[in-house]
């Protein structure tokens, strides 16, 4: 029995490092895409490079065994790209690359200072996180066992979203309605009648 325990532990650790390598590669590609989107000279290229980050996130969700999130992220990213391209195509597409003047240099220096400080504090705080994939969240057990009988649904994420956490869903639907009200108010043409 002990030999089989060692074998299973090794198999898990190998799979965990393989999963880490795969997610790290895709996150690296997302970082490169985001850096290009910020420095692009053409606005349409910047918007399409924002799509790289979104669709790379879909692959990460599929690797992390979350199919619900992958479906929602892929359709939401497509709608976001449609809205952004509709805004950009109707106006001037180029961003004139001017050398940064005094105020530009001050803002770059301030941003690098803030980034270094935040990175140092984050490095301290991830020492106290558990290893990737250890699965030691406290409420995971009470939510999973008996959830299929308590809510009656086979999809545990839907059961959690609509039954155990119904208030969050109500709040989210309210935020969507409020955003639509805001868009209708902003885009109203005055003096129609």
């Amino acid at each position: 029995m002990c030999r089989f325990d060692n074998y299973v532990a090794d198999y898990d650790i190998n799979k965990r490092s393989l999963m880490e390598i795969a997610i790290s590669i895709i996150t690296g590609l997302m970082i490169v895409g985001a850096l290009y989107a910020i420095h692009a000279k053409d606005l349409l290229s910047a918007v399409i490079a924002c799509g790289i980050v979104g669709y790379g996130l879909v692959i990460c969700f599929l690797l992390l065994k979350a199919p619900d999130l992958a479906i929602v992220q892929i359709v939401v990213e497509t709608i976001t790209l449609i809205i952004m391209v509709a805004v950009v195509l109707d106006s001037s597409r180029d961003e004139p690359y001017t050398r940064p003047d005094t105020q530009g240099y001050i803002s770059i220096a301030t941003s690098i200072l803030i980034l270094v400080v935040l990175f140092y504090f984050f490095k301290i705080s991830i020492e106290s996180l558990d290893a990737f994939g250890a699965g030691s969240l406290r409420m995971a057990g009470p939510y999973i066992e008996g959830a299929a009988e308590k809510t009656g649904s086979a999809n545990l994420v839907t059961g959690v979203v609509f039954d155990f956490r119904g208030y969050d869903t109500l709040g989210e639907a309210t935020v969507l309605v409020t955003a639509v009200l805001g868009v209708l108010t902003i885009l109203r043409i005055k003096g129609k009648k």
Partner: protein, 142 residues
């Protein structure tokens, strides 16, 4: 838009609509649910409007229709969750319909009703946002 785009949209838009309804209704059995299905449902309408332009569709009447559906759907969601106060344990958001067997289509109490109405609400919201943008751009180019 060219003839190829219009013909392909005529053939495909109905299937996308049906696929969105499938995702919404099977939300408690397979991955998906109200939010994913609602956005795909909005996508099928956006596909038709983008392919055929505003000559075939009266955009302002479409927008008033979609705002009405959105507000009615969120009202029904709130009424469903308040109805838990009238049954049994008197708790907000109570799952009071019979739960059935896990894995069948008619099961999980009130969850499929939630999925359907949240799906209608999300679809109408996104369609309203898109129509507001299109109407704004058209009225300013006149």
């Amino acid at each position: 838009m060219t003839v190829i785009v219009k013909k392909t949209t005529q053939l495909i838009a109905g299937m996308v609509f049906l696929y969105a309804i499938y995702i919404i209704i099977h939300g408690h059995l397979t991955p998906g649910g109200g939010f994913a299905g609602g956005v795909v449902l909005a996508g099928s309408f956006i596909l038709l409007i983008l392919a055929f332009g505003s000559d075939f569709v009266n955009l302002t009447r479409e927008e008033s229709g979609s705002t009405m559906y959105e507000n009615l759907a969120i009202l029904v969601v709130v009424l469903l969750s308040v109805s838990g106060l009238l049954m049994g344990v008197r708790v907000f958001f109570l799952n009071w319909l019979p739960k059935g067997n896990v894995g069948e289509l008619v099961s999980a109490g009130i969850l499929p009703l939630y999925n359907i109405f949240v799906g209608i609400e999300v679809a109408s919201s996104i369609l309203t946002i898109f129509l507001a943008l299109v109407i704004f751009k058209e009225e300013l180019s006149e």
